[in-house]
Each structure stands twice: as structure tokens, then as C-alpha cells.
């Protein structure tokens, strides 16, 4: 399982985003485990390479990047806010050092439960007993509890120094009260200012060859802190006042990446085809469940296996479209910020198009969607004065939820659909008596 010699060696891995990523011997053993190596075979952005050819990176390097980022942020917060962490959460210096190791491992493993082609295939996760779809975090926790139990619990660095159990890692990944006071750090793993988001924005931007996801990570790290709660509330993550532009940059990077990359019309079309093909390929159209008896079967699914099935012609019509790059076409979309009237008009177009519409995709359902932000900023003059980022930033204050809806048709129906849409747009202009009407038609 683990190398006994060289227990205190540090390993460095080159990374195009962070330079070098350092691992200790325990972390290296986890990285070497088959369940983690599988992430080399799961692309970070599914079929985005069909639009941005460079976007071929995987969950493997992203997971290493999240470990590096979370470690940097943790150190910064522990150093800058040690009084808050000690007085309000009860940490000692040793406790902080100890938990940093646990948070690093949780960050490293946060995506180990991804299905092939990442988020694009999550709609094929089965439902739990309450009728809710499982989430990839629940798969990650299940893999930690089973496949990774030995390498986590029995590594000499753990047994001699920490004594962490897999439940400690799983509780952080799932968001369970069993994580106790460590729940404070969960915002760094899965939250508005998490290391996951910070790494994927920079990494996706780098590989896609766009600049939209860039923000000042060093400044974020230099200004992030734990802000003391008021009215009996606990501490929470935020920024010192000097860092609000860095926080604003992070919010804007996410907004730009959503509109330009994650919700790109052609990328969305490929997600539709992947889901369609997988529903043909998977037994009963669903992935195995994140339970002990099925987690091994789940781990057998990676991009390679899916590509093999597609190559063997088992993906149905959607599989053929993936292979032949014959994707659905966007026929009509509502504005990024759609009013109720915009949505009524979209319904009218949908009705007129009838069976020509083969898929309806909503920005509000996309995994990368941007929602309300609430990043606290602590005054430099008076540390008890805390205000939201929107108070400082005009742009953040003006941002609204993207509730755009996209209507897709088959490429062979595209011309027919466009004719119908043009006619309806013309009718709408006549009804409104204005030439300024902008339906957002493609």
C-alpha cells in the first residue's frame, strides 16, 4: 500500500496554472490509487474541445490544483485570522496545522466521484430514496469510504500523526454535521469562494485559450480572511476591504466563463448528445448508485469506456451525432436576463416550432450557473463593520441571474425552423409597433 521509506519526502508536480504542486508521501499514495488515477480519464469540460480545441484537460490535474489552492488559502486564513479561529472555533496552533492536512485531502478527493465527462453526465445519476438525484460529492464520499479507506486510514503518516478516519474526509465532502467545527472550512471546498472554483476558472481559461476566467489569485490569497460573526453567528469567510477588487474579479471571471464557455451554444448541444448517448449505453439508462455494492461498477465508467461504446456504435442517434460532429443547432434563445414577456414569447416560438424543437436548455439548470453572490467585506478602518461586496462593486450590484432559455432543432430542420422564427419575430414587431424589438434570435 504505502512506501515505508522516504516518509517525509516531498514530491513536486509541474502545473501550468500554479507552477509546482507539492505533495507529501501520504498524498502521493492517494494520488497513485486506481480510484484517483481514473480521473486522468475524465475530461474536465466534456466535449468543450469541439468549440475550444485546447480544452482537453482532465479532473486529475484540476484535483491537484484544488489541493494546491486550498492549501494556499488555508495558510493565508490561518495566519491572518488566527485570533478568530482560536476564540470563536476553539482552534489551537497545532489543531490548525492538523486540520490543514485533512482539508488538503478532502480537496484532493472532492471530485473523485465524477462520472464520465464530468457534469455533463450527472443527469443520469440515479435517485435516492427521497426522489433526489445523487450528487457527485456523494459518489466521492462513497469512494473515500470504500476504495480509498486503506490508503487514507492506514498510511504511516496518518497513523503516526493524525489518526484521521475516512468519515472525517467524507463528512467534509458530503456536508454532514459529523464534520463538527471543521464545517467552517467547507466553504473552501464547496462554496462561493472555494478553491474548486478558483482553480477551474483559471485552468479552464488556460486550456480553452480564453482570458475570461482570469482573476488575481495572489491578491485573493493576500486578502481572504475569517470574519467574526455578529448577533450570535459564527465566523465566515470574506475579504479585507483592500481585496474587494480581487473578489469582484473572481465574480466577474465566473460570469464571463459562464456566458462564453460553459453555456456556449455548441458546447450545450454536445452535452445534450452525450446525455442521449449515455442513456442508450448505460444499463437501464442510469449510473450505478453510490453504495458499497455498486461503487466498483460505477468506477468502471470513465471517458475511455464511453468512447469505446460510442466507437462500437452503441450510442444510438446521439452517439452518431457525436462521432460525425453533426450536432443540434440553436434555433432561438431568450435574452440572458429574460423578462416574463420574453419567456411568453419564447413559449410562442416553441409552440410554432412544434416537433422541430428537440431540446430545451435553461441557463438556470446548468451546473456552472451564476446565482446570487454574498461575499462579506471587512472594513480596514473598523473590523467590526462588514458589508457585502455588492455595496462596493457597481458591477456586482447590477448583476442579475441568467435565466436564458435555448431551443435546439436538428441540423436538417434548421432552415425550416429559422423561417418560422423569422415570421413570428416579424409578427411580434408588428404587434408591438416598433422596430426596436430584439428577440435575441440567432
Amino acid at each position: 500500500m504505502s512506501r515505508v521509506n522516504g516518509l517525509h519526502k516531498t514530491y513536486e508536480i509541474r502545473c501550468p496554472v500554479h507552477g509546482f504542486i507539492s505533495l507529501n508521501e501520504w498524498e502521493r499514495c492517494i494520488v497513485d490509487a486506481p480510484a484517483f488515477q481514473r480521473l486522468r480519464r475524465i475530461r474536465q469540460l466534456a466535449w468543450t474541445d469541439q468549440v475550444y480545441p485546447g480544452a482537453m484537460h482532465t479532473r486529475f490535474e484540476h484535483s491537484l490544483g484544488v489541493l494546491q489552492t486550498v492549501s494556499m488559502l488555508y495558510s493565508a486564513i490561518a495566519s491572518r485570522s488566527s485570533d478568530v479561529l482560536k476564540e470563536d472555533i476553539g482552534y489551537t496552533q497545532d489543531g490548525l496545522k492538523r486540520d490543514q492536512q485533512l482539508i488538503r485531502i478532502a480537496a484532493l478527493l472532492h471530485d473523485v466521484g465524477h462520472s464520465p465527462f464530468s457534469h455533463a453526465s450527472e443527469e443520469l445519476f440515479p435517485e435516492n430514496d427521497h426522489g433526489l438525484k445523487f450528487k457527485h460529492e456523494q459518489y466521492s464520499a462513497a469512494i473515500v469510504r470504500t476504495e480509498l479507506r486503506d490508503v487514507i486510514e492506514n498510511h504511516p503518516l496518518n497513523t503516526a500523526n493524525y489518526g484521521f478516519r475516512v468519515e472525517d474526509v467524507a463528512a467534509l465532502l458530503e456536508g454532514s454535521t459529523k464534520a463538527k467545527q471543521r464545517l467552517f472550512w467547507r466553504d473552501l471546498i464547496d462554496g462561493q469562494m472555494d478553491a474548486d472554483r478558483m482553480d477551474y476558472l483559471l485552468r479552464d481559461s488556460y486550456h480553452a485559450g480564453v482570458q475570461y476566467g482570469r482573476f488575481d489569485l495572489n491578491r485573493v490569497s493576500n486578502t481572504i480572511l475569517a470574519i467574526r460573526g455578529t448577533r450570535g453567528r459564527g465566523p465566515r469567510l470574506g475579504f479585507s476591504e483592500g481585496g474587494w477588487h480581487a473578489a469582484e474579479g473572481l465574480v466577474l471571471a465566473r460570469y464571463f466563463m459562464f456566458t462564453q464557455v460553459y453555456f456556449h451554444k455548441t458546447r450545450v448541444a454536445y452535452d445534450i448528445h452525450l446525455k442521449g448517448a449515455l442513456s442508450e449505453i448505460l444499463p437501464r439508462g442510469k449510473f450505478p448508485r453510490p453504495i458499497d455494492a455498486e461503487i466498483g461498477d460505477f468506477l468502471a465508467w470513465d471517458d475511455w469506456k464511453v468512447l469505446g461504446e460510442l466507437s462500437a456504435g452503441r450510442g444510438g442517434e446521439h452517439g452518431k451525432r457525436l462521432i460525425n460532429r453533426d450536432h443540434y443547432r440553436l434555433a432561438y434563445h431568450s435574452p440572458e436576463i429574460s423578462s416574463p414577456d420574453d419567456l411568453v414569447f419564447l413559449e410562442l416560438i416553441k409552440e410554432k416550432l412544434g416537433n422541430l424543437v428537440v431540446s430545451i436548455e435553461e441557463a438556470s439548470k446548468n451546473w456552472y450557473k451564476t446565482g446570487a453572490t454574498d461575499i462579506p467585506i471587512m472594513s480596514d478602518v473598523d473590523p467590526t463593520l462588514v458589508q457585502p461586496l455588492s455595496k462596493f462593486s457597481n458591477m456586482v450590484r447590477s448583476m442579475k441571474a441568467n435565466n436564458q432559455v435555448l431551443l435546439y432543432v436538428r441540423p436538417e430542420d434548421s432552415e425550416r425552423a429559422n423561417k418560422i422564427i423569422r415570421q413570428e419575430v416579424e409578427n411580434e414587431r408588428t404587434r408591438q409597433g416598433t422596430l426596436e424589438f430584439d428577440p435575441g434570435a440567432s
Binding site: A179, L183, V386
Partner: protein, 156 residues
């Protein structure tokens, strides 16, 4: 927009309006949704997980943003000593979405008006004390007793 979307969006102005002050904050909204789904069994499709500040699902905030963009509710930021919060109120577009989700709202009317928390007190005190160690066990117990007296917690 799916029926589920309409139901979720319609709930936001209903919860705000049913509060005595006719507005609620974001934290309260998150907790109401959590209680409705996990304790009252109203199928909302949220997937909550636990943070140091309580149950959270980003989809609730995403729905709030959509509701704001569609003028179903309006949110204003309010400041208080050392902090800030939000005041979410019903807006002009609320009647339309409520009408669209009328069946759902009528079906669950009783649940929206009776959001008491049913749990085993000693267990709850222990859980809160573990997540928020800055509060002594005694302090948590006192707070729980106060909630019991006000009828906001019910022992089972």
C-alpha cells in the same frame, strides 16, 4: 419553465408574505426551504448539505436571483451594527407566479403556516454544540428551552 420551477419560485413571495413583518432574510429563506423539504416532506428538489452556518443549497439563492430578475420579489440590503442582511419582499410579478402554482400552494398551505421543528432536544443540543463550539452546552440548552417555550420547537 417546469412546474417544479414555478412551485419553487412561487414559494419565495409566499414565505415572505406569511412572515408577520411581510419580509424575510436570505438565511431565513434557506432555512424555511430546508424545513419544508426535510421536515414537512414538501418535494422541492433541493439538495441541501451542511455548513457551519446551517443547511445550504446554492439552488435556493439561484431561485431567489431568478425571482428577483422576474420581479416576483425584490431584495434590499439592510445594515445593522457590524453586519448586514437582506429584506426579501413580494413584488409586482408575484400574483402571476402564485396563480401559475396555485394547485401546489393550496395543497401545502398548512405546511407553510406551521414550520415548527420536530426533533429530539438532547440530540439537537449536542449537534449544535459540536458545530458551534463557541457556545457552551448550557447556552445552547437555554436557547433551545426558549424555543420550546415559544412553541417553535416540538419534542418528539
Amino acid at each position: 419553465m417546469s412546474e417544479r420551477d414555478k412551485e419553487r419560485l412561487s414559494l419565495i413571495p409566499v414565505l415572505a408574505e406569511s412572515h408577520p413583518s411581510h419580509h424575510i432574510g436570505r438565511t431565513a429563506l434557506m432555512k424555511y426551504m430546508y424545513f419544508l423539504q426535510t421536515l414537512r416532506g414538501v418535494q422541492l428538489g433541493y439538495n441541501f448539505s451542511m455548513y457551519s452556518y446551517g443547511p445550504f443549497d446554492a439552488d435556493v439563492l439561484s431561485d431567489l436571483s431568478t425571482a428577483e430578475a422576474m420581479n416576483i420579489v425584490c431584495s434590499t440590503q439592510v445594515s445593522f451594527a457590524g453586519g448586514y442582511g437582506y429584506r426579501i419582499q413580494q413584488a409586482a410579478g408575484a400574483p402571476r407566479i402564485k396563480q401559475d402554482a396555485n394547485g401546489f400552494l393550496s395543497q401545502h398551505k398548512a405546511e407553510f403556516n406551521d414550520l415548527q421543528v420536530h426533533s429530539e432536544p438532547a440530540l439537537l443540543v449536542g449537534v449544535v454544540n459540536e458545530i458551534k463550539p463557541r457556545f457552551s452546552r448550557e447556552c445552547v440548552e437555554t436557547s433551545f428551552n426558549s424555543l420550546f417555550e415559544k412553541g417553535l420547537l416540538v419534542s418528539v
